[in-house]
Amino acid sequence: MTSDLVPFELQAVSIAVLAAFLLWVLRLVRTQRLSLRDSLVWVVTTLVATLVALFPGILVRAAHLVGFQIASNAVFGAAILYLAVNVLANTVAGSQNAARIRRLAQECAALRAELDIARASPRDGGGAAPGEAGRGPMP
């Protein structure tokens, strides 16, 4: 578990921070502020990071495999890429949600208008819209 790659204190702090992060994510799920589905990616990445903190040798070997001279550069690179992918995924979700909200708002407006029309002429269960009364002939 201990290695000469990373000082023990640093390893201990990293693991403590990751554990706290994991507890925070789980708390968000338990208090229903984060869905279980959306928490999965955070839980999995935190566990992977913890694994790397416990056995830094994995990271060094992986970094050299890809061609990084210094393992820390690989960490920064991977972290930035990971965050960028995450933000992009969030933006995609945002786009889809915006489209859904737009659709719902339009549907709401249409239903309300239909209701207004139905209320205005309750006996025949609908009929002409208020604006359709008394229109002139088409030229």
């Binding site: 489209a99 737009r102 339009q106 208008a113 819209a129 009364a133 002939p137 088409m138």
Partner: protein, 239 residues
Amino acid sequence: MRVLAIVPAFNEERSLPAVVAGLRRSAPYVDVCVVDDGSTDGTARVANGLCVTLLSLPVNLGIGGAVQAGYQWARDHGYDVAVQVDGDGQHDATFLPVLVEAVASGRAGLAVGSRFAGPRLAGAFRSTWTRRAGIRYLSWMLRLRCGARVTDPTSGFRAAGHEAIQLFARSYPPDYPEPESIAVAARAGLTVTEVPVRMSERLHGESSIGAWHSFYYLVKVSLALVVLPTRRPAAEDLF
């Protein structure tokens, strides 16, 4: 033939009565549908007193979402032609019959009212030169990417025929939609034509497009015109 005038309105309680009165005067055969885009003033109350169909959006969607709600109403209620007329009073309703005729005659699927086509009309508002430069650029982009020849692509005064109504009800850009929607129509194979119209400066309130927004507008629409034609079709297009 059934014609629907779609009037998007965001905080237009002062202009709306004149706009609707103008429509009734110039085209009494037209049904009017006011789309209140989550206004915070008395737009909905004013519209209710005008004997029009009122679509009240529960949240502010922006001009594109509002206009699209109107097209969906037109589609679901079997209208043959839908004409967009801004709720701020910039569009002169006396030109509405000409726009409708361009579509009803089958000459075009989408007829766009243009300030720049045809002879210069007296008392007409043709915007500032910077805006005109932007408009010319957009017009050039549209011709390049979609083959649509339109001199006033930012005009929101337009008539859509049956096919265009179906298309826009399904697929309409949410913000700064005017040039992009011409591209959408042209790419769908609709004939886009222009009709010379007169516009005036808005009656009340301020334009939604300032200097910074103009820049965003140009960048966004440019990107849209470059990317749009390469998109895979979807049941409900995402913009």
